[in-house]
């Protein structure tokens, strides 16, 4: 029975992937891409990788999908939402095929990955948290996560650099218009309390169960975006100091914890067991704030259409 489910899931993933790249029309491709992300998330659940599934659903399907939709809307507003030429299609098809071939080659050449074996089990008591995924992300391989959080920040700075001079002091994104007391306004009032609860829970539970800063941060970013679209909160300006703190605090706390590890344990980013749990929780909370703010600002986009302040 479960074999039938897995086979159907594989067929669906492949079919939707094909529909994403093979069909014509940008909007169609984006919709299929979002469906593809959700199906892949179900696939990760079937493989028992719940943390990856949460990240894929929240970031791969949800956030990337919204970013693509926003980009498509922008192209359409500018009147440049055309399909690329045949040559460009052929080029990207070749590049995609080459990437797939390289991955397949790596799969066959590299030794089959073993289940996280004795080394991880032996190291877990020193991790400070129960969830092995969190232990790897924030303790044993913290470098990767630290650099990821900095990459996100760099992406936002890159986006802000595209702001026109006359729009620089405006509020982020396009002006939102929603009817006072309308459907969107009441949706924006009902959803945030539930979303806040779920986002904070994902971060808190991430230490010992499934969840984490990236998944929780994405949910919190979505809460902020819904509230902004419903016109209940106004997006900040680029110069808002408090939001600079929110954007910076994650990487900053991470680096500070790394320095503390360098002093206490003799190596950068090594968390000695006595402080590992509080340190990881502090980093997670700070990272969540930064991730949520960065992702929400990325979706809102740079200030546009120079509204009067």
């Amino acid at each position: 029975m479960s074999l039938a489910l897995d086979l159907a899931l594989c067929a669906l993933i492949l079919g939707v992937a094909l529909a994403t790249v093979a069909g014509s029309g940008l909007f169609r491709a984006i919709v299929f891409f979002i469906v593809y992300g959700l199906l892949v998330a179900v696939g990760w659940v079937r493989l028992g990788a719940i943390d990856v599934a949460l990240a894929e659903a929240a970031i791969g399907a949800g956030l990337t999908g919204v970013l693509l939709l926003a980009a498509h809307g922008r192209l359409r507003r500018l009147g440049t939402a055309r399909d690329a030429s045949h040559g460009a299609h052929l080029l990207s098809a070749l590049a995609g095929a080459a990437l797939a071939a390289a991955l397949a080659w790596a799969w066959f050449v590299l030794p089959l990955p073993e289940r996280p074996g004795p080394e991880l089990a032996a190291a877990m008591p020193r991790a400070g948290v129960e969830n092995p995924v969190t232990a790897v992300l924030l303790n044993f391989r913290a470098w990767d996560t630290l650099l990821e959080s900095i990459v996100l920040l760099a992406a936002l700075i890159g986006l802000w650099m595209l702001t026109r001079e006359r729009d620089w002091s405006g509020r982020l994104g396009l002006p939102q218009h929603s009817r006072a007391g309308g459907v969107l306004a009441s949706f924006g009032r009902v959803l945030p309390p539930v979303g806040l609860l779920i986002g904070v829970w994902l971060v808190w539970a991430g230490a010992d169960r499934h969840g984490g800063a990236f998944q929780g941060g994405t949910v919190l970013a979505a809460v902020g975006l819904v509230a902004a679209m419903a016109g209940l909160v106004r997006p900040p300006r680029i110069g808002a100091r408090l939001w600079h703190v929110a954007l910076m605090i994650g990487p900053a706390v991470f680096v500070l914890a790394g320095l503390a590890g360098a002093i206490l344990a003799g190596e950068f980013l090594t968390l000695p067991p006595p402080i590992a749990k509080p340190a990881i929780l502090t980093i997670e909370i700070a990272l969540t704030a930064s991730i949520a703010a960065t992702l929400a600002f990325l979706v809102l986009g740079p200030p546009e259409e120079g509204r009067a302040p």
Partner: protein, 94 residues
């Protein structure tokens, strides 16, 4: 007994999903399609959630299924209104 009820309820849910999908494909304009999609699918999801709730081991799981259904209902209802209003404005503009 619980297994039988689960099978019956999820089957009923799937029937409503199929009906909603048929409506989405066959109905002539945005408004009737929205009607098919939101009404039938929300009912279908409700039946499926109810069916799965019978298999839950704790009441907390039942509560979470209920929350998922309520959130999906809320989102589908709100989004249907927004899509319909946009379609209406577009029709007026033409």
């Amino acid at each position: 007994m619980a297994d039988l009820a689960t099978i019956a309820l999820t089957a009923a849910g799937l029937f409503f999903f199929v009906a909603g999908t048929v409506g989405l494909i066959r109905f002539p304009d945005t408004f009737t399609r929205l009607h098919a999609l939101t009404k039938a699918d929300n009912l279908g999801l409700g039946f499926i959630a109810l069916g799965i709730a019978l298999q839950a081991e704790t009441w907390a799981q039942v509560a979470r299924l209920g929350l998922i259904w309520a959130l999906a209902l809320l989102a589908a209802g709100a989004m249907a209104q927004l899509v319909a209003r946009t379609a209406l404005e577009r029709e007026d503009a033409e």
